[in-house]
């Protein structure tokens, strides 16, 4: 009888200790545009996140991961994103805020990260100034100047003397135009024309005609990933600008794997610079793309999926370093200087700016098998964001 009592007590104590030692769930609040004009962004980023968890188990540093997703459609309304972040912090008690498909969303939520002292992992928003809005922000995507400068340098070195810039008339477009002009002119090139295209623009005809009439060596294009790029490229081919000897150079947004199939043949030969290509040759990318295609057969892995995937990787590696402690100050300290091999190549988090440092590749669109791919043929290593003040 005494034995039994003792063993019951021991068992009870054992259970109690185990229960106390079992750490609280790790709650990650995701703010992403899941509907509206940027629904494709949210889906890809979420896919990347889910893939990471499927591959590495849903426990990080002994804590079970709980993802709470909120749709901040349209994605450009800061008041909506801010309210959702407030709810995540107050109602759901999240430990980490993550996601952010577009810059206004990140800008609006930064003060919440500050006030509530939560780490904020930006997985897509690409304006330089985002990481300066709070000391608790880390970014795993890219910045626009970071991926624009290399193609300008490449162009200047490769017999392209005159360029006509065509950008979408909104903040990021102005940033891309500015960075390209700065880098290209500094490398000796000449900007012979520039035009800003309205974002709500169904027809590129007048702009393409203007470019054709000006006859530059190349036209630099920056438009948001989606139908604008498709319309431009189709028009570029239809109007025979390539036959007229004009090259097309762009940022990789234009030939994003998610849209390149909708462009089709007109995309062949376009030179662009970007940080991730599905066709990037590395063991990590091979594993990533194989697993992604299996999990999501209707989607192609693209830079947004990698942004989400690496965001989770960052969270996991950081928490391993802090032993599961998601306290904002400790988290950011541990995240600074973190290095790992991403499917895109080697990446690290700049200890001063908390922004991502990565390779930027110069690619050409080619047909591989029966798919269009961005094939890398040159690269710039460890590019820091040139857009920081």
């Amino acid at each position: 009888m005494r034995h039994l009592n003792k063993s019951i007590v021991v068992a009870a104590l054992g259970l109690a200790t185990a229960w106390a030692a079992q750490a609280a769930d790790l709650k990650i609040g995701l703010v992403l545009p899941m509907t509206g004009p940027f629904a494709a962004y949210g889906k890809q980023i979420q896919n990347g996140i889910k893939l990471y968890l499927a591959q590495n188990g849903d426990t990080i540093a002994g804590r079970k991961v709980q993802i709470i997703l909120k749709d901040d459609a349209p994605g450009t309304a800061g008041d909506v994103s801010k309210r959702l972040a407030q709810e995540l912090v107050i109602q759901d008690n999240v430990d980490i805020l993550a996601g952010f498909g577009l810059t206004p969303s990140a800008f609006a939520v930064a003060p919440i990260a500050n006030e509530a002292k939560k780490p904020m992992v930006v997985m897509n928003a690409a304006t330089s100034a985002v990481t300066t809005k709070s000391n608790y922000i880390v970014r795993t995507s890219m910045t626009l100047p970071q991926i624009t400068a290399p193609v300008a340098t490449w162009a200047a070195k490769n017999k392209i003397k005159t360029v006509f810039t065509v950008v979408a008339d909104y903040g990021p477009g102005h940033d891309a135009e500015g960075q390209f002009k700065k880098t290209f002119s500094a490398a000796g090139g000449e900007i012979v024309g520039e035009v800003r295209v309205p974002v709500k623009n169904p027809d590129f005809a007048p702009y393409l005609q203007k470019v054709k009439d000006t006859k530059p060596d190349a036209v630099f294009l920056f438009v948001p990933a989606g139908e604008m790029g498709i319309a431009f490229m189709k028009g570029f081919q239809e109007r025979g600008l390539a036959q007229a000897g004009i090259k097309l150079i762009a940022t990789g947004d234009l030939t994003d794997e998610d849209v390149i199939d909708s462009i089709g043949e007109p995309a062949l030969g376009v030179i662009n610079s970007f940080h991730y290509a599905q066709a990037h040759k590395s063991a990590e990318n091979q594993a990533f793309t194989a697993a992604y295609s299996k999990a999501y057969p209707n989607d192609r892995p693209n830079f947004m999926a990698v942004g989400g995937y690496d965001g989770m990787r960052l969270i996991a590696e950081t928490l391993k370093k802090t032993g599961g402690n998601a306290d904002a100050d400790k988290f950011i300290e541990a995240a600074k200087g973190l290095k790992w091999i991403s499917p895109r190549g080697p990446v690290s988090i700049d200890p001063v700016t908390r922004d991502i440092v990565q390779n930027v590749y110069i690619r050409r669109v080619e047909k591989v098998g029966n798919q269009l791919q961005n094939i890398e043929f040159d690269q710039v290593n460890d590019v820091r964001d040139p857009g920081k003040p």
Binding site: T35, T76, D79, Q86, E87, P104, F107, G171, H174, P198
Partner: protein
């Protein structure tokens, strides 16, 4: 023959202007909400702000019969006015509201001349055109407005010098509700005044109005300006409670959703604006939480069902319900 109406004939109008019991009960709801939903104050504040915005549309649509798809123009003007003031050191909230009302009101006054004549469709498109042009202008002036990325550097001083805008949104909530109530009270008095009644006359039979001596154009300009000022105040409230201005405040979707909310609640009765907003935003919130990817389908289905079974919005439904209860009583 005396053309004066005898006092007894004015009684129904006077009675309508008195506050009913259910109205007192209605305004206890925001008070109760503070205690019942302490963790949802940011959603409730935004409902209050949007309700004020919807009120502005009801003044022109429900009472004067001007169909507008461009209220976001004035909402945005107010939002940017308050935002730019706060970003340049003049962050006092009440001052911001006044300036926003003034600027948005001016915008309304200037553009009112465009909506004086024409069919419903014409007015719809003209108001939409004005709003879209303002959107493109704000987008072009990225250095001033921040463009798509949004206006930052907004520092809103504590309300009345004392109440800080906190993370939980307590100050924001009371601020929004008090401003809403004050402006609602004013609107209510206006719609029951002779001016307000003349607006309804214009809506019902614009040809007749000059015959009884009511200056149609003058009234329309006045109510359009007032409504713009209301929308501007709502925009300023949003800026001050979120310390951010996105270009989205001028977007077509804001005007379109506003129209939806007002029609859902029932136009022409002021309370319809408040109820419609609360129903729409709450439904959106819950559906979005349940299904972040496909909530739009269910919200659309809800709207379709409501139209099929509840003409004239929720207010219409409540009125018919009351009539039915009275008959069976």
């Amino acid at each position: 023959m005396s053309t004066q109406l005898k006092p007894a004939e004015l009684d129904p109008l006077r009675r309508a202007a008195d506050w009913q019991r259910w109205e007192y009960a209605f305004w206890l709801l925001p008070l109760a909400a503070y205690f019942i939903f302490p963790k949802s104050l940011s959603l409730l504040s935004q409902i209050a702000i949007t309700a004020l915005f919807a009120l502005s549309l009801d003044l022109i649509l429900g009472y004067a019969g001007i169909v507008s798809l461009g209220q976001a123009a004035f909402f945005g003007l107010g939002a940017y006015a308050a935002g730019l003031m706060a970003a340049h050191g003049m962050g006092d909230p009440t001052l911001g509201l006044l300036v926003a009302a003034l600027i948005a009101g001016c915008g309304g006054f200037i553009s009112s001349f465009l909506v004086l004549r024409g069919t419903d469709l014409t007015r719809l498109m003209v108001t939409l055109g004005v709003a879209m042009m303002l959107y493109e202008a704000a987008n072009k002036l990225t250095e001033l407005t921040g463009g798509v990325d949004g206006l930052q550097g907004i520092e809103v001083k504590p309300l009345l010098g004392y109440f800080n805008f906190d993370l939980y949104g307590k100050t924001a909530y009371w601020y929004s509700v008090v401003v809403l109530f004050a402006l609602f009270f004013l609107a209510r008095r206006i719609v029951h005044s002779p001016f307000g009644l003349s607006l309804q006359g214009i809506r019902q039979n614009v040809g007749r109005m000059p015959a009884i001596g009511a200056p149609v154009h003058g009234r329309l300009v006045a109510v359009y300006t007032l409504s713009a000022a209301y929308a501007g105040v709502a925009g300023a409230l949003l800026t001050q409670t979120t310390q951010f201005v996105s270009l989205d405040v001028l977007a077509f979707s804001r005007s379109a959703e506003l129209l939806l909310m007002l029609v859902l609640g029932g136009a022409g009765c002021l309370y319809g604006a408040l109820i419609g907003t609360a129903v729409f935003m709450t439904a959106h919130h819950f559906l979005s939480n349940m299904n972040p990817q496909y909530w739009q389908f269910w919200l659309g289905a809800l709207l379709v069902l409501i139209v099929l079974f509840a003409r004239d919005g929720v207010i219409g439904l409540l009125v018919r319900l009351r009539g039915w209860l009275r008959k069976s009583a």
